[in-house]
């Protein structure tokens, strides 16, 4: 038993964190709601109440997953950055501009859109990457600042060059139909961008764990001195990890534009880049784990929307829940005492086995 606890300690720890979060939320709902039973029901089961809502979870998880993947690659190289948000935004704006001003058949237009978005994101990732590799500029500060640059630059591009004045809102022209990700499941908004996301989960997994570059990225992240000593070109690795991350983040934004809104309708950054940081941390930078974490976060968001619509419980409860979980998961000392005790017991058992006499 103890052995399994040690082996799956991180998983168990995550589950315990979630259970504590659930417990606290139940408590809060009981305190603030006049009809706590109903509140609880919608909180936990709301997202499953219709095909549309299940679809909402999946469609919302998609950009979060892509941002998580985008962040996990530089994170694995120990480049702690928050650039996904900016890359996503600027790529979406530029690519929307590209989309509304070009016309191709669908089969060409869609891949072109995706590649342009990825390219813009990659350039956006290249800047902090090269600054870090060449001059040791702190990538966290640079990406944080570049998020603002991306925000205002994008708004300028959309509002001054591609604004649809007939729309009555600050939005871009609608993309031509040839640049749409179509829905393919009835009664939901699940679009082909979701499939693209699944492809990227697999691709990133292969990149990180099966390729030479992935090996270089992980070794650089685990011990950069070791990587240099072994002959790995860490300069290249640092820059490339940011470029690939930027590429994926760029696609995260345009996928949502092409699949849901069909035009650029953001006036502030949507926050998926930040969610990406969170899921990358919860999923310990593992593409598959972080996909699950993203679905979980999306589930919570949808349940927040349902709560708002159907009960007297404010949707902010979801934010509380999220915060508790993130706090407990990122607090490294959480449950280490417990782990230590089990380690002790295991060690004692081992020693006794060796010398039954003493």
């Amino acid at each position: 038993m103890d052995k399994y606890i040690l082996k799956y300690f991180n998983l168990i720890r995550t589950i315990i964190a979630i259970l504590i979060g659930v417990f606290i939320c139940i408590l809060i709902i009981f305190i603030i709601s006049k009809d706590p039973q109903n509140g609880l029901r919608y909180f936990f089961l709301g997202p499953f109440s219709s095909a549309g809502r299940i679809g909402n979870v999946i469609e919302m998880a998609s950009p979060i997953i892509l941002c998580g993947l985008a962040i996990s690659i530089p994170f694995q190289a120990e480049q702690f950055n928050v650039g996904a948000e900016g890359a996503l935004f600027i790529a979406a704006a530029v690519t929307t501009g590209f989309g509304v001003s070009t016309s191709f058949p669908k089969i060409i237009h869609i891949p072109l859109m995706v590649l342009v978005a990825g390219g813009v994101g990659a350039i956006w990732g290249f800047i902090p990457g090269i600054l870090k590799a060449k001059w040791k500029a702190n990538e966290l500060v640079i990406t944080l600042m570049m998020n603002y640059v991306a925000l205002y630059l994008s708004l300028y591009i959309i509002n001054f060059h591609f604004r649809d004045k007939k729309a009555g809102f600050l939005v871009s022209y609608q993309l031509p139909k040839t640049a749409w990700f179509d829905q393919f499941i009835k009664n939901t908004r699940i679009h082909y961008g979701v499939l693209l996301t699944i492809v990227f989960i697999i691709l990133v997994y292969i990149l990180l764990y099966k390729t030479k570059l992935g090996y270089e990225i992980r070794m650089t992240g685990m011990n950069i001195n070791f990587a240099k000593y072994g002959g790995i070109n860490t300069f290249k690795v640092i820059v490339l990890s940011q470029v690939i991350g930027g590429f994926i983040a760029g696609i995260a934004g345009i996928s949502e534009v092409m699949g849901i809104h069909r035009r650029f309708n953001w006036q502030g950054t949507p926050g998926y880049g930040w969610d990406g940081v969170v899921v990358a941390i919860i999923g310990r930078n593992h593409p598959i784990l972080l996909a699950f974490a993203s679905i979980f976060i999306a589930y919570l968001r949808v349940s927040g929307q349902v709560l708002n619509l159907m009960t007297d419980v404010p949707s902010e409860i979801v934010t509380i829940f999220e915060s508790i979980i993130i706090l407990l998961i990122t607090a490294e000392a959480f449950l280490t005492q417990w782990k230590y005790k089990i380690t002790l017991r295991e060690a004692e058992k081992r020693e006794v086995k060796i010398e039954p006499a003493s």
Partner: protein, 509 residues
Amino acid sequence: MGVILSVKNIVKVYPNGVVANKGVSLDVEEGTIHAIVGENGAGKTTLMKIVFGIEEAQEGQIFFKGKRIKIKNPYDAIKNGIGMVHQHFMLAQDLTVYENLLLGIEPKRGIFLNTKEAIEITKKVSNDYGLSVPFDKKIKDLPIGLRQRVEILKALIRNAELLILDEPTSVLTPQETEVLFNTLKTLKKSGKTIIFISHKLKEVLEIADKVTIMRDGKIVVTKDAKELNEHEIAYLMVGREISFERIPPNDKQGEVIFEAQNISFINEDNVKVLKGVSFKLKSYEILGLCGIEGNGQTELVEILTGLRRPLTGKILLKDKEITNLLPREIREKRVSHIPEDRMKDGVADRATVEENIIVDRYYKKSFSGRLLLKEKEIENHSNELIRKFNILTISSKNPVSSLSGGNIQKVVVARELSSNPLIIIADQPTRGIDVGSEELVHNLLKDARDNGAGIFLVSADLDEILKLSTRILVIYNGEIVKEFINHEGLTGRDLGPYMLGLKKEKDNG
């Protein structure tokens, strides 16, 4: 004389599951020098850390002067009269000697430090024990031997009656060691008790009254030093016979395959740490470089392996210049490198054994295609090396951090020696590993030499240098000050004066 310190049934398990002490009981008599010997990882340092309150034991009791005491932190230990001199000194580099001595117990005038009184207090203690130190110099300007003396004084000023010294001679030259031993004898005369941790057997027999031998977290035996000899201790420590024999040189006359010409280097603090170092390395030989740590060895090795760029100078490999090439380019020319600090450079400890083994070869045809790694080949290759180098690990997919120090070093050595090297730059190849692994590494280096490799051996351990080297260079303050041809009669005492900078080649004429 009575027992001053008595520990009973100490059990200590570290958070990673390593059991360092398995029910250790020990009595130390007042006014004696009591040596604790054992291999790295035998648990001697852990035991002393428990006595000094740096680590807490899970079980067991400590009695000091007949009273049971609880020691939760070093402050408790000091209050009770226990002092410790650590292997790595705990001194503030930028403060002066007297400031260090009185840190935390400064005499004050108002809110200011009473400098005059401070110097007086330190002078008095230093005179009482006959330990002179330059009071107003900064620690960073002192040689290692004096820094250690400051550490000892620091404990004495705080009224330590029991002084624990953790491997005190590992950083000293033979001459400095002698001075230290005289100090310890003086302290013993004035009634202090000293616990002396070491794995150098000669010294132990020279200085100690009692010797406790530890192995694998347990005490093997405690005996009077007079009843023991070197071989007996070694046998009890390791559990089997080991050889101290010098390895004879290879008879083959090799040609020069590696050459450093006039290498100099200025570090980040604008100190010239290498001043025109030149040497030639032949095949079929082991060229030893000895010197006190911090005399430029680290920088030299990093320059030779491409991790740093020299200010001036050239490095030639078989008459082709390799100066300023990238680490990978140098490795491609069959130069391998066992780094000084395995945890800093030699491994990524969270990565698996496999991932650590392939760092210099993952991109080669046998281990990867254009994009993908060949997992099966990597696994087979790793398992082959694990068998060949006798690395103790559950599987090749376990993280290196789950291995013992000796086995981690074997991972490094396995990688570096299995790449068919022409030149091996081995920096502290056996630091901090058990005697068994040490012997294995020594034999592997010898085999590589006999197969025609040239080995540049950098070590702070004089015994290792003398055991393996064909020729020996002594480095002091960034310069090669002397070259010896190794022979049966050469000892550490011959090297010492050069290591300390007291003698230079030209002085001899």
